[in-house]
């Protein structure tokens, strides 16, 4: 291995060389990058003992994560479907590598179910026979119906996010560090950020 994180191998600000007067130390060592891969259905996480007796969880293969819908204030566990964009390196997109900051497509069903339960509104593709009446299997009390109606009135949902529900896929940005914590968690993109990344993905497709 021999990955060392010292500054003694670098030159000074003036351009001069730094004299190497000691060997590499253990506290300066680095480890190989995790390169967590997206493999559907698999989860492979290794526990590594690090300096101080603490543990890091190196995720080698992941397929699920906990994603938050920030404007609604919920987080749901969902399957990661595909890696779509990485700001640092296109190679990572091609090899389906999960890192912090990568944009992935996530299965939208957990959020759809939650939304239906909370607002009694079905997100997603419009069915032929469906009008405005949502699928009402259970009888709801008057007070509950009033509560739901009030919620729908106060609710705001981003247009682009709503459109994504029709494809059953949501764009999500990973904010955890899979090679450090062993998880791929993130947040659903909304607003200007969503527009930005949709544009980037379209550009790549061309």
């Amino acid at each position: 291995m021999g990955i060392s994180r010292d500054s003694r191998h670098k030159r000074r600000l003036t351009g001069g060389r730094m004299p190497i007067h000691k060997k590499k130390r253990a506290f300066e060592k680095g480890r190989q990058a995790a390169m967590t891969k997206l493999i559907s259905g698999e989860k492979r996480v290794r526990r590594i003992r690090v300096r101080g007796g603490n543990f890091k969880f190196r995720a080698l293969r992941l397929s699920e994560g906990n994603f938050s819908w920030a404007s609604q204030g919920v987080a749901k566990k969902a399957k990661i479907v595909e890696v779509v964009y990485h700001p640092s390196n296109n190679e990572l997109v091609r090899t389906k590598t999960l890192t912090r900051g990568v944009i992935v497509q996530v299965d939208a069903t957990p959020f759809k179910l939650w939304y239906a339960k909370k607002y009694n509104v079905e997100l997603g593709p419009k069915k032929k026979d469906k009008k405005d009446a949502p699928a009402e299997q259970t009888k709801k009390s008057n007070s509950l119906q009033k509560k739901l109606a009030q919620r729908v009135k106060e609710n705001v949902i981003d247009q682009l996010v709503q459109e994504q529900f029709s494809n059953q896929r949501l764009l999500v940005r990973i904010t955890s560090r899979p090679g450090q914590s062993g998880r791929a968690d993130g947040y659903i993109l909304e607003g200007k950020e969503l527009e930005f990344y949709i544009k980037k993905v379209e550009q790549k497709k061309k």
Binding site: L13, E154, G191, F196
Partner: protein, 159 residues
Amino acid sequence: MADVQTQRAFQKQEGIFQNSKKLLAKKTSKGVRYWKEVGLGFKVPKDAVEGNYIDKKCPFTGNVSVRGAILKGIVISTKMTRTIIIRRDYLHYVAKYNRYEKRHRNVPVHISPAFGPVNEGDIVVCGQCRPLSKTVRFNVLKVIPNEIIGNVRKQFVLF
């Protein structure tokens, strides 16, 4: 309007939620902007509060705190993006001859986009912050415009 999003990743201020329901409802909203005072009597430039730029190393709109030493220097180079080189002159006493000699140090300093274009020769007040890069540990807090005749690198200006 000059576009802020010139990088491959979406530039935003960390920790500021731009997608609350209230903001999503307003189709073309300016969004929330985070800015802070740096203390020690330094005024926050108007552009930091009203501007659009994203700079995580800016002392007013980014994630750096100014603490420790406050230095003054004269700008000698503005060729880098968002960072300048300043020159600090001082006198060093030589005991044997009871006299002083001129010495100088060049310090790389991060400059926020909040300050407009800075020219060589301007005087700059900068504050110490945590290491922002391999060589940068200071951040510009105030720019005092100044005209220098001749080559800036050959002047000796004591503060």
